[in-house]
Symmetry: C2
Subunit: 262 residues, 2 copies
Amino acid sequence: MSVDINISPRELRLLARKGEFVEPTSGYCPGYAQANLIILPKEEAYDFLLFAQRNPKACPLLEVTDVGSRMTKFTATDCDIATDFPKYRIYRDGVLTEEVTDISEYWQDDFVAFIIGCSFSFESEMIDAGIEIRHNTEGRNVPMYMTGIDCVPAGKFSGKMVVSMRPINPKQLVKTVTVTAQLPKVHGSPIHIGDPAQIGIKDINKPEFGDAVTINPGEVPVFWPCGVTPQSIVMNVKPKLAITHAPGYMLVLDVKNVDLKE
Amino acid sequence: MSVDINISPRELRLLARKGEFVEPTSGYCPGYAQANLIILPKEEAYDFLLFAQRNPKACPLLEVTDVGSRMTKFTATDCDIATDFPKYRIYRDGVLTEEVTDISEYWQDDFVAFIIGCSFSFESEMIDAGIEIRHNTEGRNVPMYMTGIDCVPAGKFSGKMVVSMRPINPKQLVKTVTVTAQLPKVHGSPIHIGDPAQIGIKDINKPEFGDAVTINPGEVPVFWPCGVTPQSIVMNVKPKLAITHAPGYMLVLDVKNVDLKE
């Protein structure tokens, strides 16, 4: 699809709302923050809010909606959470049952939406710093992996962390850390540099979410905590109903990265 | 009382537990983070957790305890929340009714404790940077003021922000901002520099909490969001029961400032 990557966040959300943009959002709207999603009924919202507080690297909260509200109040204007992500996942009893582009029909008055920072946000800053984003270059979704890293449990929620990976030239490792560390609200600095096995990743060529990308000889895989972690938690804890975004298909916010540095 | 300021956090907590240390903690245990407190019944904990998420400058959460637990799990070991602050305040229907040094008798099985970062934490870093902390020099509690700044409401909780103030030499303003900005989890950068009236402070010589300090000619008052803000919220919203620390009488944690910079 030929959408200009410099489209405004609002225009991209409107395209997604109309079902006319259904692809990964990496690379779009450079400079603007992007977000993950998990929606839970109010009954489970306290435990998840506490889970996010205890796992801020994986689940940095940018906004939590009022109970039942479909609209964001702080991070974007005219933004309907039920339509403006390009793609959603419905999990029932911890099992992914449907992928849809609109969750209006699923909406409940007791839903609370957790809008969680996404590492796509800092990719434009990495590019500005001269660092290649391989999945952009190759036109793929970012590779995301289940790890052996235990999240800190909270109430009923527990499970393993999901990470995203970008292959980095060793000469740019320091720059990669310093540039991303400036944006803790969209995951910030990496959680691991190097050997995937050390964090329990089984096969670097078979990501559990997204697509594999080329790792050139000499490049080092660098891993960031990922906002798909709630989906790993949902698969582990099996709540009756949870709705998330589809990995890589993010909400682009009106908030700029620079606003998140304060 | 002659307690060495370089006492370990654990030893200071043990003195507080025995009722042998009942004074403001500013200056003690340099390099270690200090914390504010608000305790609410579980019924009100979701709204307050959301309030903290929406007001991270005033209420940066360092730890939220499991329901009914008196012990911290993440920020200090062998730390009893009901005894280890030097002084507590009991608020009933929004009114301060008692000040005590031990809340064991008040403890309920449905209590959730919110451990909130305190600006005392970064004072040792300011001192290392050559910046005088006036209330330390003068042996007083830090001055804290009610402001006209509205917090972002969440559920039942709303009200005005409380700030702490330190008079700063204009030549050290930039250093003051950069040093404190590195520690967002203990309030971070100032919220205002200069004219107190601009943030609704009525009389700089009459702080609502703590003690007034000398502002020398040419010095600029600098204001930080303060973890006494929950007490302003409690006075506004009037929950049936809330327990807080007494302003300035903080919990010293085992967590170091340097751990909070990650």
